[in-house]
């Protein structure tokens, strides 16, 4: 069984990613992640199953899932290349605007050096590219211990935490800038 990172651990992946499916009959009986287009076309048939997730392309509109966010167990966002940053905004919209609380999974060209930012934006699962070592990729989640911005992972930006509890100013050598 393929493995992936979820909630900071490496686990077995019970979901099948259905990259292409023209109709409901193309969807396996096992837990499946289907393209948005199929979900929208066959929503009535698929919604009865509790083991259906949906994946989005970078140019898909996450608003299309706004009504389904409370019910869907899993949404995946595809990164055709890791340099395509649209999925980061999609993740924040799903989490922060449409209130999605299920598994949010990054799929495609998913690599260690992007994991921290992906997690900040709301992803909690990472289907790291198959040719890469998961143990190694896991380290990417710990690249930083803090962020300046308000994000999904840290909803209170650093400046608000600073003004609530100002840290001790660093005592530095004289002549520091």
């Amino acid at each position: 069984m393929p493995r992936l990172i979820r909630d900071g651990s490496i686990i077995d992946d019970r979901w099948t990613l259905v990259r292409e499916a023209a109709c409901v009959e193309d969807v396996p009986r096992a837990a499946s992640i289907v393209p948005l287009a199929l979900w929208l076309a066959a929503r009535d048939a698929l919604i009865a199953r509790a083991d259906i997730g949906v994946w989005l392309k970078p140019d898909d509109d996450p608003q299309a899932l706004a009504a389904d966010c409370p019910a869907l167990p899993l949404i995946a966002v595809d990164f055709p290349q890791f340099t395509d940053g649209r999925g980061y905004s999609i993740a924040r919209l799903l989490r922060e605007r449409y209130g999605f609380t299920g598994e949010l999974r990054a799929i495609g060209d998913v690599l260690r050096d992007q994991l921290y930012y992906l997690a900040q934006c709301g992803f909690n699962a990472f289907a790291v590219r198959a040719d890469r070592d998961l143990e190694d990729a896991l380290k990417g989640l710990a690249d930083f211990s803090d962020s300046y911005q308000a994000t999904w992972a840290r909803s209170v930006p650093l400046f608000r935490r600073r003004t609530m509890a100002p840290p001790m100013r660093e005592r530095r050598a004289e002549g520091a800038p």
């Binding site: 930012y117 660093e170 800038p177």
Partner: protein, 552 residues
Amino acid sequence: MYRYDSYDHRILAERVAQFRDQTERFLTGDLTADEFRPLRLQNGLYIQKYAPMLRISIPYGVLSSLQLRKLAHIGRKYDRGYGHFTTRQNIQFNWPRLEDVPDILAELATVEMHAIQTSGNCVRNITTDHFAGIAGDELVDPRPYAELVRQWAAFHPEFAYLPRKFKIALSGSPIDRAATLVHDIGLHAVKRDHGEVGFRVLVGGGLGRTPMIGHVIREYLPRAEILNYLDAILRVYNRFGRRDNKFKARIKILVKDMTPEIFARHVEAEWEPIRGGPASVPDEEIARLARAFTPPSYERLAGDDAGFRAAIADNRVFGNWVKRNVFPHKVPGYAAVALSLKKTGVPPGDATADQMDAVADLADAYSFGELRVSHEQNLIFADVKQSALLSLWSELKGLGFATPNIGLLTNIVCCPGGDFCSLANAKSIPIAEAIQRRFDDLDYVHDLGDIDLNISGCMNACGHHHVGNIGVLGVDKNGEEWYQVSIGGSQGESASLGKVIGPSFAANDMPDVVARLIDVYVENRHEDERFLDTVRRLGLEPFKERVYAAAH
């Protein structure tokens, strides 16, 4: 200036460690060149023609003497003893070894400096007015806001892989000294009747291949909403900006394709749900940042210094320098001084490590240990007592930084060009030098008055040629270097883009071409009319005629 607290130090240390690890993984082959590229670019590292180039961030151009000494040390230890100040108020080193870059970044972190996002498709260094805090025409000191935006931009997780690079500039004054109209986002401070501070928001300006002037999308944004609104703009751009063609990927193309009105509507819709949310900025935070920019301990002086006035009258050469390189200060008895990095024979913006050390000493002695970098690639001492100007001038002369040419034809803005940059189509530094040599009569250059001459070695327009009164663009024709000339560009609050006068020229012809443009101006100018105004009044024709008549 802004000082790091324990949070800033920790985040920066983690960044240095992250990049050290990434560099090691690249060198051992665990990361491919394609995977490493965006990572190194976001740490300022280009692989250039002859060696890597490291671009170090100087946030909004503010530098302490201690930081400048560190840059001098880096120039000496890791480079060939010099650095190049850029049009984005940054500094570049052209000869570091890739293996050394993590160590350089670690050294920079000890003086609260970094190379974060100085390159790559992300939010770049925030720039502002080099007279921030001292200009008499200022409504609001832009530096606390620039620092606020710097922290927002640093490691922003959502916007690290944008369609293309993204540049933000702020101005606290109605007189725009930060070229905000040619930035992806320009923010102009606005003060309302009750003293409330907000910003006018412009988007979609830019130079490069398709130069455009920014559009106002919101006349007044309350200051508390600045980060939410930036998030909204960037999110619209991140989702909808073109990624299929890198020449059409800047936000200006999206704004143009959508129209500014529709773009603004998208932004407003994106902003509405996050408005007033956690990223709205409390007054306490703005006050905290403002405390980092309180004025230095100025002496209480009655007004203009009498000795200084007398020296101007007595010494014409000093007077010329004061006229061009000394600027008014809102505090009586003080002045701002521009150190010209545009001496003929030296690549514009270059300074040696020894010069940097000497400038650091002078900053300590004359300007409270601080200096700024201007987007015209000069250095600024912002807080000099008028009574000390004569002695500062003689020290600067010894360093070669007293060329009295700020705003003049020989104060050429120039990118590194084909001598260093692998993107360039043509060399730019030798062109600048040939023009400077042609105009070596300082009295004549002073008589010509304000003329901006900007040179870029390619379409990427790092030399801001579109907004030069005279703009020169290096182009490649069948493997040869040619130069296209435009006139009538300008920066500032009435920014305009230059128009190309016709077919391009060979390098050797460039001093003559500029000389002929200048001749037309001298023959036609009204009293006290600037070159730019003569061009605006006469149009291109008489200039074209002269230049091309002579060429045939």
